[in-house]
């Protein structure tokens, strides 16, 4: 069956969802509750039962008739015209992401030590309840936030949550970090080797100031994983996008036995590095703070990496000069020591590409011998 995604023709097998089709086309659409090989989170509600929890809603896309639908919940149909990215879709996703981040500690996303830290102490004095977790720098949620909000329109705040952690076998639970996506509970229910030990339940208390009903959190069906019949297959940890469930020291808590070897964990589609279109609207959402900006061309190639005392102003200037350049997208990160950060990012780029970004090259006519 053939359909068009962002103008590109894609062929997918019958029965695919729009999200499957987008993945096949290499168009990442953000998602938290969806996980390959699992049922949809609110399937129970469709069968007539009460909805246990809300879907994340991040995979919203625009279908051919202009309506906004969830890509994971909508079957692909022949001839469909799908738009995965426009300003309205971005705004919807930002709103949904904001409510997810309201209860999840995420000050780690603006930490100046984003490139690495021993995590023994917090140099920046964040309260223990707001600090980063063991997945610092590599969690799916963080990458997703970078994708959905490359303009840093959502303030990165010090949200606190209970950080009590329990380790059973090699499965570590830190349920204060749970964002209620339900992946783990569905894996536990649906993977053949899993023990059906996890369920989604109401959060103990709504987050202070929360306007919506609190997202449910995952929990063992009985007091401990062992009591609930956990087989310690370790499938839940790698699926958790938020660091609430993890299997420190290995991909699985315990090697699945031979008889379970037939079931292989699915490979999730992870967020690529995000970018925003260089438009007045997107630039307007960028905070007026010190940081470093990347300017990218239409194909996503980095044109220039620049530190600025006010990234919004620097982007406004780039926007004004757009007619002369080829910049089509941008992304920003905030850092008070932006001249140093600029050098670090330039060094990283140069190491990966063997040269500087074209816009960071000093003009040839500034080298004395070339003067006319």
């Amino acid at each position: 069956m053939h359909l068009r995604i962002d103008g590109e023709a894609v062929a997918v097998p019958g029965g695919s969802s729009i999200l499957d089709a987008c993945d096949a086309a290499g168009r990442y659409v953000p998602r938290l509750c969806h996980y390959p090989g699992l049922s949809r989170p609110w399937a129970a509600a469709e069968g007539g039962g009460p909805a246990l929890w809300d879907e994340c809603g991040l995979c919203v896309i625009r279908s051919g008739d202009g309506s906004e639908v969830l890509a994971c919940a909508t079957a692909a149909a022949p001839g469909m015209e799908i738009v995965t990215d426009d300003p309205e879709l971005r705004a919807i996703r930002l709103g949904r992401l904001a409510s997810i981040l309201a209860g999840h500690p995420h000050i780690c996303l603006s930490c100046p030590d984003r490139d690495g830290c021993s995590r023994d102490v917090c140099t920046y004095g964040n309260a223990p309840e707001a600090r980063c977790c063991a997945e610092f720098g590599r969690c799916e949620l963080g990458a997703l936030v970078g994708f959905v909000d490359a303009a840093l329109a959502l303030p990165r705040r010090a949200v606190t949550a209970s950080r009590d952690a329990v380790t059973e076998g090699r499965i570590r639970r830190e349920m204060g970090l749970c964002i209620g996506c339900g992946r783990c509970a569905r894996i536990c229910d649906e993977a053949p080797e899993a023990g059906r030990a996890l369920e989604m339940g109401a959060a103990d208390a709504p987050a202070a100031g929360a306007q919506e009903r609190p997202r449910p959190v995952a929990r063992p069906k009985k007091g401990t994983l062992q009591a609930a019949g956990c087989t310690f297959c370790g499938r839940c940890g790698p699926a958790c996008p938020a660091g609430a469930l993890s299997t420190p020291g290995g991909a699985g808590a315990r090697r699945p036995g031979r008889r379970r070897a037939g079931s292989r964990p699915a490979t999730p589609v992870l967020p690529p590095v995000g970018r925003e279109p260089l438009t007045e609207q997107a630039v307007g959402a960028v905070p007026s703070k010190a940081g470093v900006l990347h300017l990218l061309d239409g194909a996503g190639r980095v044109l220039r990496i620049t530190g600025a005392a006010d990234v919004r102003r620097a982007l406004t200037e780039a926007l004004a000069g757009q007619a002369r350049g080829e910049a089509a997208y941008f992304r920003v990160e905030l850092d008070d020591l932006y001249t140093q950060r600029e050098s670090e990012l330039l060094a990283r780029y140069a190491q990966q590409n063997g040269h500087l970004p074209p816009g960071n090259e000093v003009d040839d006519d500034l080298f004395g011998d070339d003067l006319p």
Partner: protein, 324 residues
Amino acid sequence: MDGQREFWRWSERSWQAPDLDRQAVTAVTAGIDVGSVSSQAVLLAGGRLVSFFSTRTGSSSPDSAVRAFKGAGEPLGITLDDVSYTVGTGYGRVNVPFADRTITEIACHARGANFMAGPAVRTILDMGGQDCKVIRCDERGKVLNFIMNDKCAAGTGRGMEVIADVLSVPIEEIGRRSFEIDDEPPPVSNVCTVFAKSEATSLLRAGWSVERVLAAYCAAMAQRVAGLIERMGVEREFFITGGIGKNVGVTRRIERLIGVEALRLPEDSVFDPQIAGALGAALFAHSLHRKREKERGVAAGAGAVMPPVDTAARKDLWPPAAGR
């Protein structure tokens, strides 16, 4: 122990071209390098080096920039009004209040090293106050690639200052004294600036001489930097800039580790490796000034354009003439 003396304090350095005819000094361009530990100003007149000054960066970057400029300009009676174009560089480049433009310290160091040590330079090691970079450049001093150390002051100029204080050795003597040993000690295991004091003290207590501790520390620093250089690979010629470039205790040990000798400036050279960034900035300022003059000339319909003096200036200066 001498509580009054500040062993870490390196001397400010000032140089002016001898026998300079003040009236002939025109088309002055300035390069100001405000680094994390030191600030430099270099003044060129028509592309010729006329003055430079190197000082410590104070608590205020703009003040340091002004102080560095005055240090270079005042002996010649040059004020900001006489300067046609200024380029700011270094981590504090955005805090040079009188800069016409800023250019990264990476580009400036490469350009400055190219001018200072000649067009054969391909690999530059810049050992600064709080970081360390290995830069690959072409024959014009244009950056091709570079790499820098992580966010850590260990093995940099600031770390050396701490060691000078801990061991009460004037910082400019560290390099020489680190070779006054019978055999090379193993490098200290930890070059962390914070732990330097306890590490050095425990070595002294274990009966090590001050020279031996210096050697172990210089060796550790060299080892750290050599790793960085090897990641980039060395292409000849190799040149070292920045404050630590003047510390033979570190530079010789780096050469030993990577098996490549760094290009040395002639004995009578006026250049100081620490001014490479500001020198590069001043050279860019000169080119930018000429470019602007040319554009103005074109705009005004005038045919007269400043002659290209830069190449000639380098010939005058290369090999560099003796200082005062």
